[in-house]
Amino acid sequence: MTQVNRLTGGQVDRSQVLNFTFNGKAMQGHPGDTLASALLANGQRLVGRSFKYHRPRGILTSGSEEPNALVQLRSGAHQEPNTRATVAELFDGLSATSQNHRGSLEHDLMAVTDLMSPFLSAGFYYKTFMWPKAFWEKLYEPAIRKSAGLGRLSMQDDPDSYDKGFLHCDLLVIGAGPAGLSAALAAGRSGARVILADEDFAPGGRLNAETLEVDGMSGADWAAAAIAELNAMDNVRLMTRTTVYGAYDHGIYGALERCTDHLPTSAGKPRQVLWRIYSKRAVLAAGSTERPIAFGNNDRPGIMLAGAVRTYVNRYGVTPGQQVAVFTNNDDGWRTAADLAAKGIAVTNIIDTRDAPAVCEVPGARHIRDAAVMDTVGRKGLKAVTLTSGQVIPTDCLAVSGGWNPNVHLTCHQRGRPTWREDINAFVPGGDLPPGMAVAGAANGSLTLAAALSEGRNVANAQIKELGFTPSRKPAPKAEDEPSNGMAIWHIPESTKRAWVDQQNDVTVKDIKQSYREGFRSVEHLKRYTTLGMATDQGKTANIPALAIMANCTGKSLQDTGTTIFRPPYTPIPMGALAGRARGQDFRPFRLTPSHDWASKNGATFVEVGNWLRAQWFARPGEQGWRDSVDREALMTRGSVGICDVTTLGKIDIQGKDAADFLNVVYANAFGKLPVGKVRYGLMLREDGICYDDGTTARMSENHFVMTTTTANAVLVFRRMEFVRQCLCPDMDVHLISTTDGWAQFAVAGPNARNLLRKVVDEAHDLSNEGFPFMACGEVTVCGGTPARLFRISFSGELAYEVAVPARYGNSMIEALMKAGEEYNAVPYGTEALGVMRIEKGHAAGNELNGQTTALNLGLNGMVSSKKDCIGKTLAARPEMNRDDAIRLVGFRPVDRSVKLIAGSHFITKGDDATMANDQGWMTSVAYSPSLGHSIGLGFIKRGHERKGEIVRAVSPIHETEMEVEIVSAHFIDPEGERLRA
């Protein structure tokens, strides 16, 4: 029997024993335990070390607000740092280790920082570590970084999977405590679609932790009955282990469901699901959080919140101590004393700051009124407390209650500001809630059970009534209003020792006072200067006392002092869950071309082009590297014929009586007079006059055009064209639909292209140069009747066609083309050879059409029609875009032909220094031209069109190199274009 502090009763299943380890030590607990309750049951009070001073710490709370009891859960790749022991469900085989210490938890070498604390007060680091200059990065900062942080990532890939989902409801109820259950019951009974979410694994909230009665039953029994009723309703979805972490615009809530964290393994299922909940209305019933009181050495293991002590006793059947003292400024602390006494736990003293009679009878306890704790003893576990009177009280557990703070967090996620309520000494939701949200119960400042139950029902009914549902008439459950008076007291001024406010980040009352002294007085300055509230618990127990202490210093009211901004998430959310399935290969979908399977079987190496995978080259046995393959593909295409899958180009079907006029608006050049059966190269500008996209558009019939766009811009061009259609030219009869995925399209290029196609295109179609000249297009059939489209266009500069068949025939089509090309030694070519050939021809592509260049820069200004308007026309005429020394696209070749050009090198006129002021332009694209036998490049250089023959420096300081290059025409091959017209 290891569980020295285990009591009877509570909601743990004693019939089963769960074995677990803490820092390697074997311990036992039961289903229904959290790690914290099990640790306490096993008498483990020391659980962790604080962030800055490495103070020994225990368990302060019983919920997600826990600042101290953080552990590394699990091991290996499953290691999970900074896990709150107070919400980690116990499972068989659980292993946990403490964090943030050098040496053992008991003997942390870093605890020396605690002795140096006078020199480590708020913001000390802003005032030193500046000399000598280099020491910050070399010495101080590495040391600080090493000692900072808390837990450790495994540095292995997260082995679990995550999922996401979407839920819709009329009413979202956040929190399944008394107010939330009452709200969900009311709404559920009316027939509304309800989602009830609670972060705990056992719904019921504080009903599980209290001994109060509802409708004549124990609170826990009433909660169980309510849950049974809700579970029986089809229109209600009860989600436990689900934290609603953020309130976003228009009724969208983020929620995290922990599916397998309570199990030894995820067994292939998602560990967690991130839900996006679309709600028409919401009821926030998130309860409240107890706050501590700051007094000297108030951070010792064994000093706990009074409500938490009660929770451990009532819900988990565990006592945190054998000789308990209570320190309170309100009635609620007395309930802890009473509940413990009823369980036979020795409650020795009730120290109340108020000079008031006992709230209730607590057998065996001494009531010390108008008193306060000012210091404690017991470094690794509480041994005694000292009162302001000097009296020393031996105790191993001090239950502290400083009153309760409504959990207003989600009410402030849309910049709402809470309001101070003097009568309960707490901030409550302000009037500016997220639209659709109402608040009920303790979260609304209604701190008694009876109020929570009736408010939950009433608020839910009001919400669903607005949606048109008829509320059920069933009255709210009945309970007594328990005593709930208190006084405002935040810290004990008599304490001379350090009194902690933010326990995790080690912010003390002195730090707050120093912050005030140095002028950091606004709450935001206080937070930023002292790091208050920036720890993993986001200051859930610390912020309000700290604000009150600052308000004391400034003399302002708490309302005027205000709070810092509450930001999502309510509790921390794993990155894996936020990413869902989108990681590794599943980060984004794959788009595959129709010949992908064929290409895979024929030696293709693929490259990512947006979401597409395209064949980059097709290696053949014996080739020594990619260059061998690419050179061969380009040479054989130019020498005979090559085939390339160009399906990825965007394809847009354009139909309508005004289609030609429409194209005149979106393209810089004119399309009105394009004859049926012809294709035209088109240039699109952005409205700011910069080149946007280029492609070809074919006129299939009078009112039917087929446009191609670049692969990268397919979606963007479609969007822009819809903008023109709907917003600029709403009365044009023109219709757009994407057919990108619908057609498998292949370029067939090279002197034998026609010969090859002649064997594939059905004989009825004339392919002769006269019958189907350069820039012709038409509907044809291939391979005995399969419908296809044929375009005589060329990117390679060779005699070339593009042939398109319905995508389902694509894989078969490339087989047909290759078979037909056997006698010509046809080769498939990939994007690399495609790139080589386009550079040889001086065609601009993405590196040149980079969103920074004009038609003038590209040498395409002749294409901008003067006779008509088009997008971008007017702004393209601005003076500084048309300067005489504007950059121009030209070709470059190395003076020393054996040298390899470098894309991204900058041009400097010979004799000038390589400075930004002397920068003449840059090399955009380079390739080795197998046809020319040397490296060639395209690039922009000032006045390039006038500088052919000039030798300039191409510098690439990043490679510590430079070379001399000659400015030449960008048309390296067949400048007259004879081949493509052949």
């Binding site: 989902g165 979407f166 989108a582 219709h735 391979c783 025939y809 078979k819």
Partner: protein, 189 residues
């Protein structure tokens, strides 16, 4: 002339799997033709469609079966609709154009899309993981249709029966789409 018949191989052809409580299959020969209603000719086009299919073009976000049940008309936007039907040969577009007598602009969309039919009592639970549309029958009834995005992929979802949904997404990303839907089924099993 090359003696070579092209073989039709849509990306998910023949896919048909059963999981606990849900089946997933790629319908064979799913033909899709888009209709664009000419500006000013909307009434004539609607009339022609009604004559051809014995059913009126439904409202936006709805679909309707033709009188003989062989085709589904899906209205996507004020001036655009899909005709979805079973048809093996690559002439779906002329087939529809002829049927409606050219009263609307038609474009073959068959190969643009890949179809998956998910059916069974757990279909909705699985779809909850990827579909942002509320599929509760009160807001998404039999016949309703919506375009949305699932796992980064544009998708058209149509409720064809109480527990049956036809999902259509881009054919180039068919494998990723299938993976997304299968994962949803497995994750909710």
């Amino acid at each position: 002339m090359l003696d070579f018949k092209l073989v039709s191989a849509p990306p998910l052809a023949g896919y048909d799997q059963s999981f606990e409580g849900v089946t997933l299959r790629a319908p064979a020969d799913l033909a899709i033709v888009s209709l664009a209603l000419p500006l000013g000719g909307e009434a004539a086009a609607e009339k022609s469609v009604k004559t051809a299919y014995g059913a009126a073009l439904p409202g936006i976000g709805k679909s309707a079966l033709s009188k003989d049940g062989s085709a589904r008309l899906v209205r996507l936007s004020p001036d655009a609709a899909f005709v979805i039907f079973t048809h093996a040969t690559p002439d779906a577009e002329p087939h529809v154009a002829k049927k409606i007598k050219g009263a609307a602009y038609t474009t073959d969309q068959t190969d643009v899309w890949t179809g998956l039919e998910i059916a069974g009592p757990r279909a909705r639970t699985a779809l909850e993981r990827i579909c942002p549309i509320d599929l509760h029958p009160d807001s998404f009834d039999v016949g309703d249709a919506a375009r949305t995005t699932m796992e980064h992929l544009g998708t058209l979802i149509i409720r064809t029966d109480e527990d049956t949904f036809l999902l259509m997404s881009g054919s180039s990303s068919a494998k990723s789409f299938l993976h997304a839907v299968e994962t949803s089924i497995q994750n909710t099993a």
